[in-house]
């Protein structure tokens, strides 16, 4: 069971840092095709920021931000984006995840089409990893039981 920290230092620093952590996670996802990082790493950082919020501000406060239902939707949406881009390439008579075929749809040069395709896949992976990370933590924290009422 998660006990909300009553330490004012941890609480305040967490609330100040969480937006920056989340932006850093998005930076890692968005620059994954130029520099180290990518969907998985960024998704983990994004999930960690939510876990930090749960530890410091409690489950209920975090659920106002991102409900369990939307976590489930995000985890499947991420996989859908990933697989969707792959299947789109198949439909355009290429191999699975053959981004160069997307050049016709996006009307950009081949290299840029590859870059954009990878970016799309990274976003999908990031969403899925964030949602799954958070839902694993959520399920461990509540012991698999729905006890939203007695958590505050």
């Amino acid at each position: 069971m998660i006990q909300i920290s009553d330490d004012i230092i941890i609480k305040t620093l967490a609330r100040v840092l969480v937006p920056f952590i989340q932006l850093y996670a998005l930076y890692v996802i968005m620059h994954g095709h130029h520099s180290p990082g990518g969907g998985f790493q960024g998704g983990v950082i994004l999930g960690a920021s939510l876990v930090l919020l749960v530890i410091t501000h409690g489950l209920k406060g975090t659920q106002k931000r991102i409900s369990e239902k939307s976590v489930a939707i995000f985890s499947s949406l991420g996989v859908l984006i990933y697989a969707g881009i792959g299947v789109l390439c198949l439909v355009l008579l290429g191999n699975f995840l053959d981004y160069s075929k997307l050049a016709i749809l996006l009307s950009v040069p081949l290299a840029q089409a590859r870059s954009l395709g990878i970016l799309g896949v990274e976003i999908g992976v990031g969403l899925a990893v964030m949602a799954v990370m958070f839902s694993i933590f959520y399920n461990i924290a509540t012991g698999g039981k729905q006890s939203e009422e007695d958590n505050n």
């Binding site: 004012i8 305040t12 609330r15 100040v16 937006p19 850093y24 931000r65």
Partner: protein, 240 residues
């Protein structure tokens, strides 16, 4: 006989008139009550709308401020200034700002953010100087032969008011060698100090005063404020 009939008729007519008057007064009363009630309800409604508008405005300002700070952070991180990456930055910063607009500026007190920022920047050199000087002191204590270590836990009630100033104070204490903030409970600091000198330095309260000044919570006049006031006093004296 006729007279008594007449009197009875008059009595009943008077009674009827009285009843009618009472009814009219009651009606008027209830009408006034109703209008005042509806007015109260309407006033409450208008007040609620105004309050809601104010809150929305505040929320909007928070989103904008958070967005600007986050976008600056993004530009620092990204290092790519082409249109595509800046657009991504705007989208990501807006997303995070919308999700977290209540986090960065929660429990914000009334105060000029620009002044607080300037004062905070001015506070850092002083803190660095404190860190260096007490670093030398702790090194001397550690290296001296008889090791005059005299650990103690001091507690003091702070005059700081907001959580962010508490945290700044606590982290400043911890950053300064020789002292560590153990806990803050109900505005009371519990600090572990290495020896008497660092404890006395902390008890002198200069750091607290400076943090209070940074977050505009100072309830006494500062040297620089006095300097600002001095020319006015000079003029006054001339006039006398």
């Amino acid at each position: 006989m006729e007279v008594t009939l007449l009197i009875e008729a008059m009595d009943t007519s008077f009674g009827l008139l009285e009843d009618a008057r009472k009814k009219a007064v009651e009606l008027l009363d209830s009408a006034v009550k109703l209008t005042s009630e509806t007015r109260g309800v309407e006033e409450n409604k208008i007040q609620a709308i105004l309050k809601g508008a104010q809150e929305t405005k505040l929320e909007f300002l928070n989103v904008i401020a958070t967005f600007l700070i986050l976008f600056g952070f993004w530009v620092l991180l990204s290092g790519k200034y082409d249109f595509f990456h800046l657009t991504l930055g705007v989208i990501c910063s807006l997303l995070v700002a919308f999700l977290n607009h209540d986090l960065l500026f929660a429990n914000a007190r009334v105060g000029d953010a620009k002044v607080i920022f300037q004062r905070f920047i001015a506070y850092i050199p002083w803190l660095l100087y404190q860190i260096v000087s007490s670093n030398i002191h702790v090194a001397l204590v550690a290296l001296s032969k008889n090791k005059p270590i005299d650990p103690r836990i001091i507690r003091f009630k702070t005059k700081l008011e907001s959580d962010i100033s508490w945290v700044t104070m606590a982290n400043s204490i911890t950053l300064t060698p020789g002292t560590i903030t153990m806990d803050i409970k109900d505005g009371e600091f519990f600090v572990h100090a290495l020896d008497k000198k660092v404890a006395d330095d902390l008890n002198a309260g200069e750091m607290e005063d400076r943090v209070a000044h940074v977050f505009m919570e100072a309830d006494h006049i500062y040297v620089q404020d006095v300097l600002d006031v001095a020319p006015i006093f000079g003029e006054l004296r001339k006039g006398l």
